[in-house]
């Protein structure tokens, strides 16, 4: 093959129409997830309103506007806030108790091999068991009221959190563990400053799953068994209004359950996530 010629080009942007230009207002708006989702919500509400009007049977499906009116009325009368406060304080009690037991169990599992075996066996047994299935038994043991609810809530939270935390501890990079040992950390400092942050993505997943389980379990317990009868709660609120055929109020109660779920997921857990695992690049 002969000598290949070398080639040189002139670079020019003369006929290029865009090197860099700002996006139009519409493009920016459409790129915003919150805007897109809000638009979808508005459309869903409109569909609901139209369908309910076309159906014309408020005992089956009240209109969106009637539901919103019922929601405001219930909030104004104080019945709904009271029920919500009751449910959430109950939830927090069960959640915190569940976390505390999960922490103890995980500590035991991390420290000893028999503890690890115990945790794995217990989790394998109880994790597939829906908490609500334990409620009849809990009612026998603790009677109608807060005790039974707390018991099933602990069951809902405990296994998800313990399992994820322990799995997280196990998957902490061996290099970080060696780094931790290199500085001569004490046992507790090693857990607090290497293991927990190193396993934080898993721990956070456990907290989220545990919270979701607890929330569903609690509403179901209040609703189906009327466990908290007399003292209230969101599930009870829904149950009671259904008995009185106040269907718009039932919808308002359901809406409240959804709103609380969304708020905790998007405000609390999202914030924790952006401030920790995302900022650290441990989760994208």
């Amino acid at each position: 093959m002969g000598e290949r010629p070398e080639v040189f080009y002139e670079v020019s942007t003369e006929r290029l129409d865009v090197v860099e230009r700002p996006l139009s207002a519409w493009e920016r708006l459409y790129d915003n997830g919150a805007v897109r989702k809000s638009a979808l919500l508005v459309m869903l509400a409109a569909t609901w309103e139209l369908y309910a009007r076309w159906l014309g049977n408020p005992l089956l499906v009240p209109t969106f506007s009637a539901t919103v009116r019922a929601l405001f009325a219930s909030v104004a009368s104080g019945a709904l806030p009271q029920a919500a406060v009751y449910t959430i304080s109950m939830l927090l009690e069960g959640y915190v108790a569940g976390l505390a037991i999960a922490a103890l169990l995980t500590a035991f599992a991390t420290g000893t091999r028999i503890g690890a075996d115990l945790l794995e066996t217990l989790t394998a047994m109880f994790n597939p068991l829906p908490s609500i299935a334990l409620l009849p038994l809990a009612l026998v043991w603790f009677g109608l009221g807060a005790g039974s609810v707390i018991f099933v809530l602990i069951h809902a939270v405990l296994w998800a959190v313990a399992l994820n935390t322990f799995a997280g501890f196990r998957s902490v990079s061996p290099t970080w563990k060696m780094v931790g040992q290199n500085y001569g950390l004490s046992r507790t400092a090693y857990i607090a400053r290497i293991l927990i942050p190193g396993a934080f993505p898993s721990i956070l997943t456990g907290l989220k799953v545990g919270w979701a389980f607890a929330w569903r379990t609690l509403i179901a317990a209040e609703l189906v068994f009327g466990v908290s009868s007399g003292s209230g709660g969101l599930g009870w609120f829904i149950f009671e209004r259904k008995n009185q055929l106040l269907i718009a109020d039932v919808f308002a109660g359901l809406l409240t359950v959804i709103l609380f779920g969304l708020a905790v997921e998007n405000l609390i857990f999202k914030t924790i996530e952006t401030r920790t695992v995302r900022r650290w690049g441990m989760q994208v």
């Binding site: 990079s173 290099t175 040992q181 290199n182 500085y183 001569g184 400053r193 650290w280 441990m282």
Partner: protein, 250 residues
Amino acid sequence: MDTVPLLSVEGVTLRYKTKDHLVTATYRVSFNLFRSDRFVVLGPSGCGKSTLLKAVGGYIPPTEGRIRLGAAEVTSPGPDRVFVFQEFDQLLPWKTVRENIVFALTASGKLPRPQAEERAMHYIAKVNLTEFASSYPHTLSGGMKQRVAIARAMAMEPQILLMDEPFAALDALTRAKMQEELLQLWDETKFTVLFVTHSIPEAIRVGNRILLMSAHPGQVRAEVNSAGADAARIHEILFGEKRQGTGDHG
């Protein structure tokens, strides 16, 4: 040069268990390290050099022989021997560059927080990363991460730095640059380092003294000075044969 070795490794045999084997990683390895040595352990993969370094670090107890740092026997990991690993993930991702170094200094009880901050910034400047002091590790390149790890280890001002192929995962250009920077840092502070590598050119460039090891199990073939050493001769000692061709990566 001092006559008393800083680190003495005497007849060290190391064994570890895998799922179904008991493996002898090194067999009766002995060498002495003096203050301000850049001591390189060089050998092919499987010669137990990383295991040897972990034993010096105190992570693995020897089954035979002794490792002594000064007068004291090495029994557990400690901040007087600080590791720089090959892995980029040796920085704690939940801490910024500066916090990683401050954490090392305060967690080991070496310095109280204000002085630790000061010293951290001093060593960050030494590796030219001042503007990245508040960055999280995942935003840095591989070479920058290794520089932070070196800064963190140096800030501890340990008796010995233990470096386990710290540049092996870097591209060739960055690696050459890092080797040069390491030598500059040595010129400034005259630290003592035990450096493990499988690259002959790297061993010659970085070290002043080279321990050559054979594989399966690791045994000492020779201990040579790197001044004036040439790669072909070292290759011959390591493998007991003349080298074919000239290709090797540095």
